[in-house]
């Protein structure tokens, strides 16, 4: 099946969950809070409208796209993207735990190794200098501390 049809089906299922479960929950919350008597339209109007539009246009995508596979396969090179997204996920998970500096050094090192960067000294320079540079610019110029570095 073509990837755009799969996307439309996923969005259709998500819209069904949104309209069937999440939006009624907002309506119940509104009733519990005791608001909405004055306003003739409550907080569920727009979510219902938006969810309805997703359903209509997802069905339109299903109706208008052919069933045959497209020329560019969606899965082409997907492993690389999944790997990179995985490294970013691990980085985001570890950042509040061990701090920005060690985790970003690790992030760059892993990406350069996994994607086989050719020139080791450029990799080493970037891996060590960029996180420190970013941290110092944000900390000193913009006064924003990134998550604390427990190991440094």
């Amino acid at each position: 099946m073509r990837a755009d049809r799969v996307l439309a089906l996923v969005l259709l299922a998500a819209a069904a969950l949104y309209l069937g479960v999440l939006v009624p929950e907002v309506g119940r919350q509104q009733t519990a809070l005791g608001t909405g008597d004055f306003y003739t339209v409550g907080p569920t109007v727009l979510p219902v409208f938006a969810g309805g539009l997703v359903v209509i246009f997802a069905l339109a995508v299903l109706a208008t796209t052919p069933r045959t596979a497209s020329e560019l396969q969606f899965t082409e090179g997907l492993g690389g993207a999944a790997l990179f997204a995985g490294v970013v996920t691990v980085t985001a998970f570890l950042m509040p735990r061990i701090g920005f500096l060690p985790v970003s050094v690790g992030f760059l090192a892993v990406v350069f190794v996994v994607f086989r960067a050719a020139t080791w000294w450029i990799c080493a320079l970037l891996t060590l200098a960029l996180p420190v540079l970013l941290d110092q610019i944000l900390r000193k110029v913009f006064l924003i501390p990134l998550p604390g570095a427990a190991l440094f």
Partner: protein
């Protein structure tokens, strides 16, 4: 001191002036590197603007936007790969010129055309935006809600190759915008008990993910190229690459026509510079009579494409400033950045914050002039940046994305939002679903909901004011026409594919 003088004097401040120079230079470099678009540059700069004064933040973002589009022509001409999608039409004649040893001439023609297009659209912006805002000041909630819904449909219909996909993207943007507190009553919606979601999905990580991380993920599918691009400007004949008065005369008419086309496209929300440059290129080819030289290194092709895509820049600010409706993805980002600064774009901005309006005018103008100076004298060093292999560039940009998403609110949830948006943007890109409608709709949904509910509250839930209002009816008719024309185009295309297969 009047607002114009105040805005002008702000450029005399060292911090603002240095920011303008840096933004223009960085915009040229990022625009030139294939894979790093203007959207990425502006998206990555937004987190920094939160901590800057309004004038400095505007100068930074507009400097990047203004120069980035021209930067895209450098790689289009030298490498046959556009640095930004807006420069795709520049390839047709720019690259053949480079192969004939006329790369410097092509780059200079591109620069002159970009300068003309940009200045043309800035003049149009100065003339049209206040008038449009003046007209929009008469709008009440019914007209505002109708106009924003019109924008939703127009960007959905016109922004992509497929009608259904463009509208689906816009609808997803609207759903995402419903997360957070309801704007009228404060009822929490889809926050799952998370306090950090009460204000809704944060705009900065969303756009960093949708534009920057999505592009990096796309590059990772190709394993991040390690190759160094090869080209040389050293062997060129200087005499042949000089721009003569005859050349200027030759390109003058296509440049004027293309600037008008680019500006007209820029005013319409959601279409963008890429379509403008293709339309202008087609127009220049038709207007030339004998179009046989096009595609083989005709300077008019380069000039038309580049003046059109740069003319979009100033024109996109017309709906953004006058109506609060972003003209394209970058102005959507700028609109969000203005809101972060506490400035609400829309017709009232001309009354409440005239200094901001003048700062935008002047930033566009000064960034364009600076782009011309830097672009003219630094074409060779600029071309050198094309040699940076992506294996070093992209992971570094990804790290900046992570830090940029975090600093927006000092909250890890924003890094997760950025990651989610990046994956969504990547999937959208791979399935040819345009991302710009999602972002633009995400931004306009909150004011749309406010206006809609105000209107319905006043009419006690009746939709009659929408059905009898002349502005609503006119906009509905325009949407119906756009919808019918696009549907016809889509159906024609669908019939053409089986016919081609049969042949």
């Amino acid at each position: 001191m009047d607002p114009f003088t105040q805005a002008l004097f702000a450029f005399g401040e060292p911090a603002v002036f240095i920011t303008l120079i840096c933004a223009t230079g960085i915009g040229l470099i990022i625009g030139a590197i294939p894979g790093l678009s203007v959207n990425i540059a502006v998206a990555l700069a937004v987190p920094l603007t939160i901590f800057m004064p309004t004038d400095q933040s505007l100068v930074l973002l507009i400097g990047l936007y203004g120069s980035g589009i021209f930067g895209g022509s450098v790689s289009a001409i030298l490498l046959n790969a556009p640095g930004t999608p807006a420069s795709a039409a520049t390839i047709f004649d720019g690259y053949p010129m480079a192969q004939q040893g006329l790369a410097t001439k092509a780059l200079r023609v591109s620069l002159i055309a970009s300068l003309y297009g940009a200045v043309f659209s800035v003049i149009l912006l100065v003339l049209v935006a206040p008038e449009l805002a003046n007209f929009a000041l008469r709008f009440g909630p019914v007209e505002i809600a109708s106009l924003l819904l019109f924008t939703f449909f127009v960007i959905g219909i016109l922004s992509g190759a497929s009608l259904a996909k463009g509208l689906l993207s816009a609808a997803v943007g609207m759903v995402l915008a419903t997360i957070g507190s309801d704007p009228m009553l404060g009822t929490p919606r889809f926050t799952f008990g998370q306090t950090s979601l009460m204000d809704g999905l944060s705009y900065v990580p969303l756009l960093v993910g949708l534009f920057a991380l999505a592009e990096i993920l796309d590059e990772s599918t190709r394993g991040f190229s390690q190759s160094i691009q090869k080209f040389s400007l050293d062997s060129e004949d200087r005499e042949r690459n000089r721009i003569s008065f005859r050349d200027l005369k030759f390109i003058s008419l296509p440049v004027i026509r293309a600037s008008a086309i680019g500006s007209a496209i820029g005013i319409l929300p959601g279409i963008g510079a890429t379509i403008a440059s293709f339309l202008a290129y087609g127009d220049a080819k038709r207007a030339s009579g004998d179009g046989s030289s096009f595609g083989k290194g005709d300077v008019r092709g380069v000039a038309a494409s580049e003046s059109a895509n740069n003319a979009v820049v100033g024109a996109t600010f017309i709906p953004t400033l006058a109506l609060g409706i972003p003209g394209d993805a970058v102005t959507a980002i700028l609109l969000g950045a203005l809101v972060l600064q506490g400035v609400t774009p829309g017709p009232l901005i001309f009354i409440s914050n005239p200094q901001v309006v003048y700062t935008i005018y002047l930033s566009l103008l000064f960034a364009t002039l600076l782009m011309a100076v830097i672009g003219y004298f630094a074409i060779r060093p600029l071309a050198m940046t094309l040699r940076i292999p992506k294996i070093y560039l992209m992971p570094s940009v990804a790290l900046i994305c992570i830090a940029g998403a975090y600093v927006a609110r000092n909250n890890m949830i924003d890094v997760w939002i950025m990651l989610g948006a990046g994956v969504l943007g990547f999937v959208f890109n791979r399935t040819n679903v345009p991302v710009a409608p999602l972002l633009i709709t995400f931004i306009i949904t909150k004011p749309f909901e406010e206006a809609l509910r105000q209107a319905l509250t006043r009419s006690e839930g009746s939709f009659m004011p929408f059905l009898t209002n002349p502005v609503s009816l006119t906009l509905t008719a325009l949407v119906a026409v756009a919808f019918a024309l696009t549907l016809r185009r889509d159906l024609k295309r669908r019939h053409a594919v089986p016919n081609q297969k049969e042949e």
